[in-house]
Symmetry: C2
Subunit: 127 residues, 2 copies
Amino acid sequence: MNATAEPRKESVSCPMDFILRMLMGPWTTYILYNLKTHGSQRFGELKRRVSGVSAKMLTERLRTLEGAGLVRRDYEATIPPKVTYSLTERGHELDDVMGRLAEIGMRWEAEDAALRSLRAVELKAAE
Amino acid sequence: MNATAEPRKESVSCPMDFILRMLMGPWTTYILYNLKTHGSQRFGELKRRVSGVSAKMLTERLRTLEGAGLVRRDYEATIPPKVTYSLTERGHELDDVMGRLAEIGMRWEAEDAALRSLRAVELKAAE
DNA sequence: ACCAGTAGGTACCAATTCGTAACTTAGAGG
DNA sequence: CCTCTAAGTTACGAATTGGTACCTACTGGT
């Protein structure tokens, strides 16, 4: 975390920042989640599963993930081309952290929901 | 994600997506890191530490973090107003995960650097 | 002949994002 | 009286982003 005045843009420094920027790109979590739970998949298959994503975005995200070594791309130049994506070893290194994040996220969501309904009850009682 | 009428919002709702979207906002990791390592701080202090951030962004990020319950905002209406920010309990729940992420990020960075220099050496040897 | 599917690439377009600059409030110091 | 400060808020504007539409090449179905 360098202190002094720098055009921060490319003076990366925080390793968390880099990795989070990767994980959090538009559809990234959905893509990684699908690759993790459904295993190796073709482009179209993945696109259908991550419903709503455009081909452009999916391609771009997959290329980025490939560049970071999280995803492997296997290209078969058969006549309808067949491209298969899967998680690499490195991709699987995130399983643990992602699991914890998901767990925390769900817990917070539940806590917040409980708080909200509690407040709703109090409001009703106050009437 | 975005605008156009999505079927997605409530159907899948990856809890990780929510939490990552929070963590990854523009300056968020720097802010959380600073609050964690330097403890409770005033706005200006924080702004100086997270060098490069604009007041607008910092305010917006802090408000979001406050809304998510990760950060506490203590406002003293003294004449030059004094506003102090600190991590909440919930904010500290991320310490562990953030640490792991940072560790993984640094390891990957080191691995990549090693690979690059290895390749550089090979290139030189091939000449 | 025409359409669909496979895995994209490219051009364009609208919306969102983020930075900059100016304004605020009220007291303290000169 | 004038300016400075802290912690913002608001308005404006440029840049980035992500979607849509259209393009490739090839084959199998009707």
